[in-house]
Amino acid sequence: MTPSLARPRINRLFRFQWEPAQQAHVLLYPEGMVKLNQSAGEILKRCDGSTSVAEIVADLESAFNASNLAADVDAFLIMADAQNWITWSET
C-alpha cells in the first residue's frame, strides 16, 4: 500500500508527455520511451508532487464517473515506483 497522503511526482529522469503519433502518453528517458496505456497516462498526469494519492483517486473517480479505483491506483503506483518512474514528496 502507498500511504494515501503521500504525493507522487514524476522522477526527474523521465519526461512525461502526450505523443500525437502514438496517440498515447509516454515517458521519455535517456535513449528510450515507455508508451503508456490510458489509465497509466491518466494517473501519471496527476502525479505532480502536490496532489496526494487520495486526491488522485478522488479526481479519477470523478473524471471517469467510476468508483473503487483506490486499489488499481495503488497497484500502479507501486509498480511505477519499482520502475523508478515516480518519486515521493515528503509530508
Partner: protein
C-alpha cells in the same frame, strides 16, 4: 463502391540520430565510424539539419541524439537542440566532453537539452589517454562534475575491450564516485576502426566472464541508485542481435554529409543507394526508399534464417557484420552458430585466446584514414 482498403500504416522512426560531424579530438581505436571518414562530403548546414529534425518529428520520432565524431566541434548544436526540444523531442547529446565549457553547457541547458551521455574510456589517466591517444582524462572528470552541477542526470558510456576490461571494477567505482545514474558498459562492436583493430581489442573468454561477474556484484550492491547496462559482445554471445531493433523499424541515422541510414554503419554496404536528406524528405526516405526497404522485415532473409524459429526475434542479425565477414550483406550474421560462415567467428575467438602477438592499435585519425582509404 468498394470500401477503401485498410492498409496498416507502418510507424515512423522513433529515433533520429544526427551524426553532425566526423571530426573528433579523440582518436579511439574502437570507433565504429568508417575508416575512410576523410572521404565523406561536406557537412550539412544548420538549415539542412533543422529541416531533417522537423520532418522526423512530423513522422513521430521522439528521441533526438546528436553524435559524431565530436558534436561539440560544431558551433550550431545549441540551435539544433532548441528546435528539437521545442518540437517535443527528448534531446540527447552524445559526447566525449571535449569542448564542453561552462558557457556552452549553459547555452545547451537554456536550449532545453534533456540529457548528456558522456563517454569514458577507462578509469585511470594512463589507460584513458592510451586508448584515445590523447590527454583527456582529467578533463572528462571535470565535465562530469559540471554537468551534474547543472542538474543533468549523469549517464556514462564506456566501451569495453581487451585492454580496459580488467579495470571494470575500478571503472564502475569511478562512475559511483561521479554520481552516475546510468552506466552503459558497451563491449566493442567490431565495425569501422574497431574491425580494423579487432584482434587487438577482443577480450578473452575469461576476461569477459570476469567482467560479467564484476558487473553483477555491483548491480546487487547499487540497486536502483545506478542502473548498469552491460551490452554483451555479439561474437561471444553466439546470438545474433536484431540489429537496431529491425532495419527501418525504429532508427534513423543521418551522416555528417547528409546520407540517411537505418543504422550507424550501413554506409559501408555495397550496391546500395543512400538517400541524401537534401534531395529527399524523411517521409519518402523512411517509407519508400529502396535502402530502407532492402532489409526490412524478414521476407528477404536467406534460407538458413527462413527455416529458423528465431527469425522474428533476430532478423538474421547485423547486415554490416555479415558483409564485413562474408562479403554478402544479405547473409546470415556469422555470429549465429547456424550460419554456414560461423567458423569465421570461432577463428576470431580462438585468436583472442592467444596472448602473444597482439598487433599495435591503429588510431582513428585523419592521417590513418587517408592512408587506409577503405571503409573498415
Amino acid at each position: 463502391m468498394n470500401a477503401p482498403l485498410l492498409i496498416p500504416q507502418r510507424p515512423g522512426p522513433l529515433w533520429l540520430l544526427a551524426e553532425v560531424t566526423y571530426r573528433c579530438p579523440l582518436h579511439c581505436a574502437f570507433c565504429y565510424n568508417p575508416v575512410d571518414f576523410t572521404q565523406a562530403g561536406p557537412e550539412l548546414s544548420t538549415d539542412d539539419w533543422l529541416k531533417v529534425i522537423r520532418q522526423a518529428r512530423e513522422l513521430g520520432a521522439a528521441q533526438f541524439g546528436i553524435s559524431g565524431g565530436e558534436p561539440l566541434l560544431r558551433d550550431d548544436i545549441e540551435i539544433l537542440v532548441a528546435e528539437a526540444r521545442q518540437l517535443g523531442f527528448y534531446t540527447n547529446l552524445i559526447t566525449s566532453g571535449v569542448g564542453l565549457t561552462e558557457a556552452r553547457l549553459a547555452a545547451l541547458k537554456a536550449a532545453g537539452l534533456d540529457h548528456i551521455q558522456l563517454s569514458f574510456q577507462d578509469a585511470t589517466r594512463e589507460a584513458n589517454d592510451l586508448i584515445t591517444n590523447t590527454r583527456t582524462f582529467d578533463l572528462k572528470r571535470k565535465v562530469a562534475a559540471m554537468t551534474k552541477a547543472a542538474g543533468y542526470p549523469t549517464v556514462i558510456n564506456c566501451v569495453l575491450h581487451r585492454s580496459n576490461i580488467d579495470h571494470l571494477d575500478r571503472i564502475i567505482e569511478m562512475a559511483v564516485e561521479i554520481g552516475a545514474e546510468y552506466l552503459e558498459l558497451a563491449n566493442t562492436q567490431y565495425h569501422g576502426w574497431a574491425f580494423l583493430n579487432r584482434q587487438s581489442l577482443m577480450p578473452t573468454e575469461a576476461q569477459l566472464a570476469e567482467a560479467e561477474a564484476v558487473t553483477e556484484r555491483w548491480r546487487q550492491r547499487l540497486g536502483k541508485t545506478m542502473r548498469i547496462l552491460f551490452v554483451t559482445p555479439d561474437y561471444q554471445s553466439k546470438k545474433p542481435k536484431k540489429c537496431m531493433n529491425g532495419w527501418g523499424e525504429v532508427f534513423l541515422s543521418v551522416t555528417p554529409d547528409g546520407l540517411a541510414l537505418p543504422c550507424h554503419t550501413a554506409r559501408m554496404l555495397p550496391g546500395l543507394e543512400f538517400p541524401d536528406v537534401r534531395e529527399h524528405d524523411i517521409d519518402w526516405i523512411w517509407h519508400e526508399s529502396p535502402l530502407f526497404n532492402r532489409f526490412r522485415g524478414t521476407a528477404w532473409l536467406p534460407e538458413t534464417c527462413q527455416s529458423c524459429d528465431e527469425k522474428d526475434n533476430d532478423h538474421g542479425g547485423c547486415r554490416c557484420q555479415a558483409f564485413m565477414l562474408t562479403g554478402d550483406a544479405g547473409a546470415t550474421d556469422p555470429v549465429c552458430p547456424k550460419s554456414p560462415d560461423h567458423a569465421l567467428i570461432e577463428a576470431a575467438l580462438a585468436d583472442a585466446e592467444r596472448s602473444a602477438d597482439v598487433k599495435p592499435l591503429v588510431f582513428r585519425d585523419p592521417k590513418n584514414s587517408k592512408a587506409l582509404g577503405r571503409a573498415f
